[in-house]
Amino acid sequence: MSRCTSHSTTSHNVTTNSSTTNSSTSAFGSRRRTLGVAGAGVVLAIALSGCSTPDADAGSASGDVTVTFMEAMSSGALKPSLEAATARFEADNPGITVELIEQPDYGTLFTKIESSVAAGAAPTIAQVNAAWAVTLADSDVILPLDDRVAGSATYDSFYDGIKNDMTLVDGQNWMWPFNKSLYVQYFNSNLVADAPSTWTEFATTARDVSTDGVVAVSTDPGGASGIGQGSELVGMIAESNGGSMFDDEGVPTFTDPEVISALEYLVGLQADGALAAGTNYPGQQALGAEKGAFDLSTVASYQYNLAAVDGKFEMGVATLPEGTEGASNALSGTNIAMFADATDAEQDAAWQYMEFLASSAETAEWAAATGYLPVTPDAIDEPVYADYIASNPWVSDVIAQLDIAVRPTPRPWTTDSLSIFAAMVSEALAGASTPADALERAQDAALALVK
């Protein structure tokens, strides 16, 4: 900032001096000089335009603190819910202002986080997922929260899956929970009377209902740009049957027999006309158009699926089917990380805000309004969430899975490995290679990334 101020002063002096000197010259010469100064002014204005950002100092003379929160809660009920929670926090904490820096989607959010950090203007806190946190922690731009977590009154009450999701491979807590979700099966009650409880039963039901233009389930496997729900599904089916996509050291195990078997399961459904691969929430599209019987996606889709169905039929919701080894689910959503550039006052204020959002009352309000899951079982006793569960009894079964939900502890190569995995799943579902061959290639490429 000081460099920019200095330039502004120089610019002002140049103009003043030129005006003074020109007073004794001819009219022609004066016009030329005026034009010249104007030209130089244009150059300086352009050069300085990048320095015109407002003062980023979050504190003020009165001791008030501003917390900047970069987030992507921009659609549907998410935006008003977060704004309302923030307003309640500010009312309870008059000295703290929380500035929500909203981004349209997660991809843009991480790009903005990175560019802000690179420009030396990181927010105080931001929504992050575990894979991003690895990059940010390795680059020393976010702070471990262990000391603050140790003194937290709410941490102990969190579900086990939520607690595990706050840590990275070093065992430290780098994140604080925010919007968490799990996979469920949404289904058309006109086509499916009772939700299948096992993956075997699911396959039978899916094949049975796939007639007259209905394809039971549509899913987006993702690809090179990132893993999609279809590829996550492969992992969850494999794990429910005792397989795993990563070993204890985080090394990819994509050729695990159960992973291959899970992909063969999906390819088999596709071959029988019971599964279609697509993009742009294909399960939601098909369910809403009454051309699909199931949508296997997270609870975060609940409000959107209701809107897609639009009262045409009763939409059922149930936990995912189980495998031979029981239930498996992938914890989705994001956490909040705190940036190292923030001042002590900003960090303290941000921590108050983070704890506020995770309190039983606020997580209950948030979950009831958005469909995300509460991070603590205490929320179930809050009246607003008790009412929500009474209207949506399936939620209780889903919440119970928060204690068993897992995600692979991310390593530097995890995200890229999963993108490769997703690209190969999409290739197998496109019929370009067999599941075994596709996963063999994915495994080889992913192993090359392991350091």
């Binding site: 130089a40 150059v43 352009i46 990132g226 599209q285 579902l429």
Partner: protein, 301 residues
């Protein structure tokens, strides 16, 4: 009689005001083109951490070695092959189609003006918006194109979900989007072609085809070269439609070099490797533009 000797030698700083007036453009060009280009060249020699530059490591030509070895998935060579097939198809078809439509609509009648506007309109629409529209048109189950195919008793095609058709689908969209621009270049060119030569040829008994081939086309050669160069550069740099419509898939069947630059820089966070890919893409673009200009000069009578 006084002889005035005028020096023809130019003095580089003869007019300081001239430099002052071009300075804004030079500054903008330097800040947004020259400096980033040089920075990219530098970053390609590092294992770059843009979140904490202090953690970046100088690794020399390792990024280039990794690229040429083809060890990454997708390999540099496979992305180059996808890029080459897209670029060649685009340049040939967009040039031929643009020229054909321009010849068809060269007369300024109301109908041809409407036709020109309709075709050019696609070029001025935002690519993200039209790419999303085309995704819906291509939709395997609910798309209008498959609905038409079904009405014609033809099999449905999984346009964007089948590795055999995904690149073709993007090519069709890209042609729809880009043909209007090349058409306008050729319409401008046709307006400058001498009418007398054509009339003389017709009097001498030339057919319409002979007139086009031996009179009009040679006159249009500078415009053809310009259109080819622009189409080549645009096709090499094509990104939006690949990003929005397929994300490089299914598998890596539509992963072009340009898409991989984005993928490595902003998804895999391998900024150094992405910079190396960008340098190679820049070199290929420059070499092709230079070669096309050389060919044009050689053909010049």
């Amino acid at each position: 009689m006084t002889v005035v000797t005028v020096s023809r030698r130019r003095r580089p700083f003869a007019s300081r005001w001239a430099y002052a007036f071009i300075a804004p453009a030079v500054v903008v060009f330097a800040v947004f083109t020259i400096v980033p280009t040089l920075a990219t060249l530098g970053i390609s020699l590092f294992e770059w951490n843009w979140l904490n530059i202090g953690q970046s490591t100088l690794i020399g030509l390792d990024n280039y070695t990794a690229m040429v070895s083809g060890a990454m998935l997708p390999s540099f060579w496979s992305t180059l092959a996808v890029t080459a097939s897209f670029v060649v198809s685009m340049v040939v078809i967009v040039t031929a189609l643009g020229l054909a439509i321009a010849v068809l609509l060269r007369r300024p009648t109301r109908l041809s003006m409407f036709g020109r506007s309709a075709i050019f309109l696609a070029f001025v629409t935002p690519q993200v918006a039209t790419s999303i529209s085309w995704i819906w048109m291509y939709n395997d189950r609910f798309g209008v194109i498959n609905a038409v195919l079904e009405r014609l008793a033809l099999p449905r095609v999984n346009w964007l979900g089948d590795p055999d058709t995904a690149l073709l689908a993007i090519l069709i969209y890209s042609l729809w989007h880009a043909t209007g621009f090349s058409m306008m270049i050729f319409i401008g060119g046709l307006a400058s072609v001498s009418q007398e030569l054509g009339e003389a040829a017709r009097i001498d008994g030339c057919s319409h085809w002979q007139e086009f081939w031996y009179i009009t086309l040679p006159e249009l050669r500078p415009f053809v070269v310009f259109a080819v160069i622009i189409a080549t550069i645009n096709a090499l740099q094509a990104f939006t439609q690949f990003f929005v419509m397929t994300g490089g898939g299914p598998g890596y069947s539509t992963a072009t070099l340009g898409f991989q630059v984005y993928q490595q820089a902003f998804v895999s966070r391998n900024a150094g490797y992405a910079a190396a890919l960008a340098v190679v893409l820049f070199a290929i673009t420059a070499v092709m533009a230079y070669a096309q200009q050389r060919v044009n000069r050689r053909l010049d009578p």
